[in-house]
Amino acid sequence: MVAMHSDPRFDQLRRSLMRFVLPVSVGFLAWYLLYVLMSAYARDVMSTVLFGDVNVALVFGVLQFASTFGIAIMYARYADRKVDPLADDLRTELTGAAAGASAGRTGGRA
C-alpha cells in the first residue's frame, strides 16, 4: 500500500480526480456564495422583474438547483470514465485479481 503511494499510476489517479474535484468545488462554492451575498446586499438587482412575476432572485435560485443537478451528473460521468478505470486497475493489483472488492475482511483495521 505504502509503495503504491509513490507509483506514477497512483499519482495519475490522484491528479485525474483532483482535476475535476478541485476547480468544480471552488466554482460551485463561489457560485453559491455569490447567490447568498446578492440575497443579502444586492436586493435591487435580485428584485428586478424579468417577466410576469418572475424576478432575478427566482431565476438565480432555480439556477442553483440546475447547477447542482448538472455538476452531480457531470461528476458521475467523469468519474465513471476517467477515474474508476485507474482505481480499478490499481485495486486489482493491490488486492489480487480474484479477491476483488470483497477482499476487505482482512484489510487493516482503522
Binding site: 475535476f20 468544480v24 447567490y35 436586493r43 438547483f65 447542482t68 455538476i71 458521475a76 484489510g107
Partner: protein, 566 residues
C-alpha cells in the same frame, strides 16, 4: 381577515373528528408496518457490520432514498413549506443551502470515506492518529451534533402530533388536552425510534427510511400536482396569487422577509442581520458533509461507486422535493392564507397539512379533505420517525464503536460485545432524549438544527478533509480542530441573542448576549479550521506511512470493507 381565521378554526373542529379517526388509523398501520420491518431486519442482524452498516448490502438507489429520508426531516417538510408560506422567497433560499451542500459530500467526502472507514466518521479521522484521544473527540462531537438535532426533531414532533390530531387549546381528545398530547407525542416517537434502532439496527432503520422516502415523495407529488391543477398548471398564476394573498406584495417574491432583514433606522442591526444570513448560508452548505448520521449512510453500500450513486439519487430526490415544496408553500400562502396558518401554529409548521385539507375539499368535498389531511399527517409523522431513528443509530454506533470498543476496551471487544453495547446505547440515548425533549418542549429550540449544522461544519468537516488531504495533519491537530470547532460553535450560541436577552430567547429572563449573530458559522468555521492547523503545527508528530496508506485506500478502494455475505 379575523373572521376568515375563526371560520377556518371552526371548520377545523367540524372535520376534525372524522379526519382524526382516519389520521390515527393511518398512524397505526404505518407503525405496524415499520415495526414488522424492524423485527424482520433484527433477525438478520448478526455481525457488527449488520448492526452499524446494514451489512453494506443496500443498492445505491436504496441508500439514496434513505439519504433523502434522513435529510428530509419533518423540519424540512413542514418547516420549509411553512417558511415559504409565511415569508415567501426566504424559505426557498433556505432550501437552496440544504441542497447545494450535497455537492461537498459528493465531490470531497462520500467515496473516500466509504473506501477508508468501517462504521463511523472517527474511523477515517483516527486512521493515522493516536486512537483514543481522536476517537473520544469524534464521539463527543458526533453525540453532541446528533442530540441537538434529535431534540429539535422531538420537540417539534410533540407539537406536530398534537396539531396533526387537531387538538385545540382547551379541548380534549381521548382524555388528552393539547399539552398532554404533546408529551404523548414525544414519548411515542421516542419509544418507536428506540425500538427501530435497538432491534432493527441499521438494516431496520434503513428500510424504515426507504418506506418513508417513498411516502413523502408520493404525498408531495400528489399534493403539488393538485395545487398546480387548481391554477391550471400555471406557476406564474400561483405566484401572483400567493404574493397578493400574503399581504407583502412583490417583496414576498424577493429575499429579505425572514433573513437579512433590513431594520429601518437601525443600520447596525441591519448589518448584523445580513451577516447572520451569510453565516447561516455557510453553515448550511458546509455542515451536511460533516453530519455523522449522513456520513454513516455511505457505509451501507457495497463500494464507493454505489456511494457515489446514492448521493446522486439523494440529490435528485432532495432537489425535486424542495422544488415541489415551493409549490406547497406558495399554495398554502394563496389557498390557506397567512391568518389561518398562524392561527394554527405561529411558526407555520402546519401549513402543509392545512393545505392538504384545503385542496382535498376543493376537489372532493369534506371527505376527501379529511383523507388528504390524514395522508399528509401520516407522511409528516413518518418523516419525524425516520430522521430521529437515523440520529439514534449514528450516536449509538459512535458510542459503541469509537468510545466503548476503541477507548474503553482498547479495540479488544468482540463483535457480539460491540453490538450489545450499541443496543444498550440506543436504549440509553432514546430514554435520555425523551426526558430532555419533555423538559425542552416549552422552549424555542428551532435554532438547534442550525446549531447542529454549524458544529458539523466547524468541528467535523475541516478535520475530515485535513485528515484525507493534508500529509502533516496529526493527533493534536485533529483533537484541537474538533474541540475548537465544537466549543466555539456552542459557546458563541450561548452568548447569542437566541440563548438570552430577547423575548424569543431560550432563557428570556437573563441577558448574557454579546455575540450579535444567531448562527455562529461565520466565526466558528474559520476558528475550527485554525485550531486544527495550529494544533498540527505545534506538535512534531507525523506519520507519512499511514497517510500514504490512507490515501491509497481512499482513492483506490483497496482493502475497503466489502458487503456481508449471508
Amino acid at each position: 381577515m379575523t373572521t376568515t381565521a375563526s371560520h377556518a378554526l371552526l371548520a377545523a373542529e367540524e372535520v376534525s373528528s372524522s379526519s382524526r379517526t382516519l389520521t390515527i388509523l393511518v398512524f397505526i398501520v404505518m407503525i405496524a408496518v415499520t415495526l414488522g420491518v424492524t423485527v424482520w431486519a433484527g433477525r438478520q442482524t448478526k455481525s457488527a457490520a449488520d448492526f452499524h452498516s446494514g451489512g453494506r448490502e443496500f443498492s445505491g438507489m436504496q441508500n439514496g432514498f434513505a439519504i433523502g429520508s434522513d435529510y428530509m426531516s419533518a423540519a424540512s417538510f413542514l418547516g420549509i413549506a411553512g417558511m415559504i408560506a409565511l415569508f415567501g422567497y426566504d424559505g426557498f433560499l433556505y432550501s437552496i443551502g440544504f441542497l447545494v451542500a450535497w455537492l461537498v459530500a459528493l465531490l470531497l467526502v462520500a467515496e473516500l470515506l466509504r473506501n477508508s472507514g468501517r462504521f463511523t466518521m472517527a474511523d477515517v479521522l483516527s486512521y493515522r492518529m493516536q486512537q483514543r484521544p481522536v476517537r473520544t473527540a469524534a464521539a463527543v462531537s458526533t453525540i453532541t451534533v446528533s442530540i441537538f438535532y434529535l431534540l429539535a426533531q422531538m420537540v417539534g414532533a410533540g407539537a406536530v402530533v398534537a396539531l396533526l390530531l387537531g387538538i385545540q387549546p382547551g379541548e380534549t381528545y381521548l382524555g388528552m388536552d393539547a399539552d398532554t398530547a404533546k408529551i404523548v407525542g414525544i414519548v411515542v416517537v421516542g419509544i418507536l425510534m428506540t425500538l427501530y434502532v435497538t432491534f432493527g439496527g441499521m438494516k431496520g432503520t434503513t428500510w424504515v427510511q426507504i418506506i418513508k422516502a417513498g411516502m413523502l415523495m408520493g404525498g408531495t407529488i400528489v399534493l403539488a400536482a393538485l395545487v398546480m391543477a387548481i391554477y391550471g398548471f400555471d406557476f406564474g398564476e400561483l405566484m401572483s396569487d400567493a404574493s397578493n394573498a400574503s399581504g407583502a406584495g412583490q417583496s414576498f417574491l424577493e429575499p429579505g422577509l425572514r433573513f437579512g432583514v433590513e431594520v429601518p433606522g437601525d443600520a447596525l442591526q441591519t448589518m448584523w442581520n445580513k451577516l447572520d444570513l451569510i453565516s447561516l448560508g455557510l453553515a448550511l452548505v458546509l455542515g451536511t458533509a460533516g453530519l455523522p448520521h449522513i456520513l454513516i449512510r455511505f457505509y451501507t453500500v457495497p463500494d464507493s461507486k454505489a456511494a457515489r450513486k446514492s448521493v446522486n439519487w439523494g440529490i435528485g430526490l432532495i432537489g425535486s422535493f424542495y422544488l415541489m415544496t415551493l409549490i406547497l408553500g406558495f399554495g398554502a400562502a394563496a389557498l390557506v392564507g397567512k391568518e389561518a396558518i398562524t392561527a394554527q401554529d405561529a411558526a407555520g409548521n402546519t401549513a402543509a397539512p392545512q393545505l392538504a385539507r384545503e385542496v382535498g375539499e376543493h376537489f372532493g368535498g369534506e371527505f376527501f379533505g379529511s383523507v388528504m389531511l390524514a395522508v399528509i399527517a401520516a407522511v409528516a409523522f413518518a418523516a419525524i420517525l425516520s430522521t430521529v431513528a437515523g440520529l439514534v443509530i449514528a450516536s449509538s454506533s459512535s458510542l459503541a464503536h469509537d468510545f466503548y470498543n476503541s477507548v474503553v476496551r482498547k479495540g479488544r471487544a468482540s463483535e457480539h460485545e460491540e453490538i450489545k453495547v450499541a443496543r444498550l446505547s440506543a436504549f440509553g440515548i432514546g430514554a435520555a432524549s425523551i426526558v430532555l425533549a419533555i423538559f425542552a418542549q416549552s422552549l424555542n429550540v428551532a435554532f438547534l438544527v442550525g446549531l447542529a449544522f454549524a458544529i458539523a461544519a466547524s468541528a467535523n468537516l475541516p478535520t475530515l478533509l485535513l485528515s484525507l488531504f493534508w500529509k502533516r495533519f496529526n493527533t493534536r491537530g485533529a483533537v484541537a480542530g474538533i474541540y475548537g470547532g465544537l466549543i466555539s460553535a456552542v459557546g458563541l450560541v450561548v452568548f447569542s441573542p437566541v440563548f438570552s436577552g430577547t423575548e424569543k430567547a431560550l432563557l428570556p429572563g437573563i441577558d448574557i448576549a454579546w455575540f450579535p449573530l444567531t448562527n455562529p458559522g461565520l466565526v466558528s468555521i474559520p476558528l475550527g479550521l485554525l485550531c486544527a492547523i495550529v494544533g498540527t503545527l505545534s506538535s512534531g508528530e507525523s506519520n507519512p506511512r499511514r497517510f500514504a496508506e490512507l490515501q491509497v485506500r481512499a482513492l483506490t478502494g483497496a482493502g475497503a470493507e466489502g458487503a456481508a455475505k449471508h
